[in-house]
Symmetry: C2
Subunit: 405 residues, 2 copies
């Protein structure tokens, strides 16, 4: 039998995949499982997007332009301009999700064995895309104690080698909810200019900012136009995760013409979902006001409930809809499995994402979990209550097991 590739072996599994069978059997036993583990919002997709799909007038479902419909790219550039991000339609390539945009960005800028510095904890799939692209991830670690703030320039500079080609950030961040300040962005900008690196910024959560903080895009930084590559997506913005429509944005003409060769090879992004995404740009501001009020409310509820649990450390996220919580346990993998396999509170339990998969450095984050606040407030309250009771029983069992040794 022929062998699979080393690359295939190296590809990481999803951090929650091994938990899925336990979640499925819990459900088969009749338990209700609160999913704190996933980033699939329960917010409705804007009607204007759904209606555009219902009203399509196509006879032939044809390819679009490899860079996406020009009408969509033009409207998207106007949307960015309203956000004070000054880009033209030529600076945008529409992709199959933010995922493909990141693959194009890595393929365009990095070769086999090149190094990508990433601020950890980070979105777990950055590891997968790096392996798929032959790129080595070099983590720069931030800690829960500092609220996952950007590490010092020194910490980054120590990691730079002749193989370093780019720094990748997610802003606001999945899984931390951290949002970079203007000052931090300027520090990163100075760093990539000094060392002639690319700065890739995943900004798919740009609208989800709370407490009046203003999101600062890399596309707004003067002097790094040739360094900056923005990754974006409609998935979270319009609760359209299934559309798989994203984009890669850069003012660097050589980057964009090279990325176009990757785009042409796969012909085009999906046509109907582009029509939906273009229509979604007409979503009224009131939709976002409501959604952001809802998420803020959920965040405040979640953090306040988590803070009631003894031994839990959590930082209030400034944006996106995740937080990292440190639990009074040793092994979040074991605890997450135990919750699904052996625990219930009145017929209910919770599924959480162990955070180790969001770090590249081995052995970090073993007692942390990522919690997504994409559930209704009352569900979040119930879920955290289960977590609290569960923690107490799990820890007393651990203790009693130790006593019996």
């Amino acid at each position: 039998m022929p062998k699979i590739s080393s690359k295939g072996k190296l590809m990481p599994e999803s951090p929650i995949r091994k938990l899925t069978p336990y979640s499925e059997s819990a459900k088969k036993k009749g338990l209700k499982v609160y999913h704190l583990n996933i980033g699939q919002p329960d917010i409705k997709t804007p009607k204007v997007a759904i209606n555009a799909v219902k009203n399509i007038t196509l006879d032939i479902l044809e390819y679009s332009h490899s860079a996406g419909f020009e009408s969509y790219r033009t409207k998207l550039s106007q949307y960015y301009k309203h956000q004070n991000v000054n880009v033209d339609f030529e600076d945008i390539i529409i992709t199959s999700g933010g995922s493909e945009a990141l693959l194009f960005a890595l393929g365009t800028t990095m070769d086999q064995g090149d190094e990508l510095i990433v601020h950890e904890p980070f979105y777990a799939n950055y590891n997968a895309f790096s392996v798929a692209s032959g790129v080595t991830v070099i983590p720069v670690t931030s800690t829960i104690e500092t609220g996952f703030a950007l590490p010092s320039v020194d910490a980054f500079e120590k990691m730079i080698t002749p193989k370093t080609k780019a720094i990748l950030i997610c802003n606001p961040g999945n899984p931390t909810g951290y949002m970079y300040s203007e000052e931090e962005m300027m520090r990163l900008a100075a760093l990539v200019k000094k060392h002639d690196l690319f700065l890739i910024s995943d900004e798919v959560y740009r609208e989800f900012t709370y407490d009046g903080d203003v999101h600062y895009s890399i596309m707004n930084i003067k002097g790094i136009e040739d360094h900056a590559i923005m990754i974006d997506s409609v998935s979270k913005r319009f609760s359209m995760c299934g559309a798989r429509i994203g984009c890669m944005v850069s003012k660097n003409k050589e980057i964009m013409s090279t990325a176009m060769k990757f785009a042409q090879a796969r012909l085009s992004p999906p046509t109907i979902e582009q029509i939906a995404s273009e229509a979604a740009l007409d979503t009224p501001k009131s939709y976002f006001d409501e959604v952001i009020t809802e998420y803020k409310d959920r965040r405040d509820t979640l953090i306040s409930e988590l803070n009631k649990i003894e031994g839990v450390i959590v930082t209030k996220p400034k944006g996106a809809f995740y937080c990292i919580a440190q639990l009074p346990i040793d092994n979040a993998d074991d605890f997450a499995q135990w919750l699904l396999e052996k625990y219930q509170l009145n017929g209910e339990t919770v599924m959480i994402a162990p955070a180790a998969g969001f770090y590249s450095t081995p052995g970090i984050g073993l007692n942390q979990v990522r919690i997504a606040y994409v559930l209704k407030k009352e569900d979040l309250i119930s879920a955290v209550q289960i977590l609290k009771e569960g923690l107490s029983i799990y820890n007393s069992k651990q203790k009693s097991a130790l006593l019996h040794i």
Copy 2:
């Protein structure tokens, strides 16, 4: 300014991309351009697929399973069974087009510098996907004189090195329209068994076969279940190129679980287009009967018209909707540009795809073009007439230019 990757530089451009500006200016001058260069059919998408889109009842456009909706995979496996291809839904991963399926297949089986043997001329984007995956294409050349039949086993064996991991075929073939006989498939099967290689077969044109020839899938070959990976797509089958829905199919469990890690990283294929593709499986047989009659008619018309031109060599394609034609010229790139830039017949001209981009061996196919028969019969007749007159004028101009030197 930071540098783009060597991979990015190596990525090939689309063989027709440099002609696009000439086609656009021809249209701006008011000329009608017959597009013989593209594989976008003018056939209508089945109503059942379009209606499924119009009738969606979603409130939230959610992710699907990373392998695609189970309902779709199940129905697709039934569809294959009707075609005597015995696969279960677990053997199928739904992808963003055949393109992503091929990327998953290459990533799962091949590492940087590994070698992929491809029967040339081949679909030009195989080069691009290989570069993107760090894979080296090793061509085995077939010739127009033999109708692009499979070269001898010897020709393949000569190319096999310790780095060879797979053989890739397209059946029926783009750009040749060649369809492998059962005997040829058995030869390939014996070869991959003997050398423990994977056999990747792109079968997106499986329905488009003429003259009563039966398509022979690699999934039907006993004894190579662990070697065989099939690439498929709805694009041509249902004239749904813009759906970007394809699939990767294999009975090899290790291959599929590894490919799933690539699939999970990019989360899911597009949701609405999957709904359309699932519905398309209910397309009545009469649709295919009509479409295949239409293509057969177009093929016969095209070949008979091309054969009327002196000096043109062309083989009747057995499947798909392309042919390679050898023209009485030296440089198809120059001729194709001349047709768009300097020629017209009663306000009309044609766009053809120079065939060199479909070869990996440099210097081959310079006097060949790929012609797609995706236009109506009367348009094909007009287009070939323009080609004929154009050839005659182009060649007399070349001759007179030579005389003036």
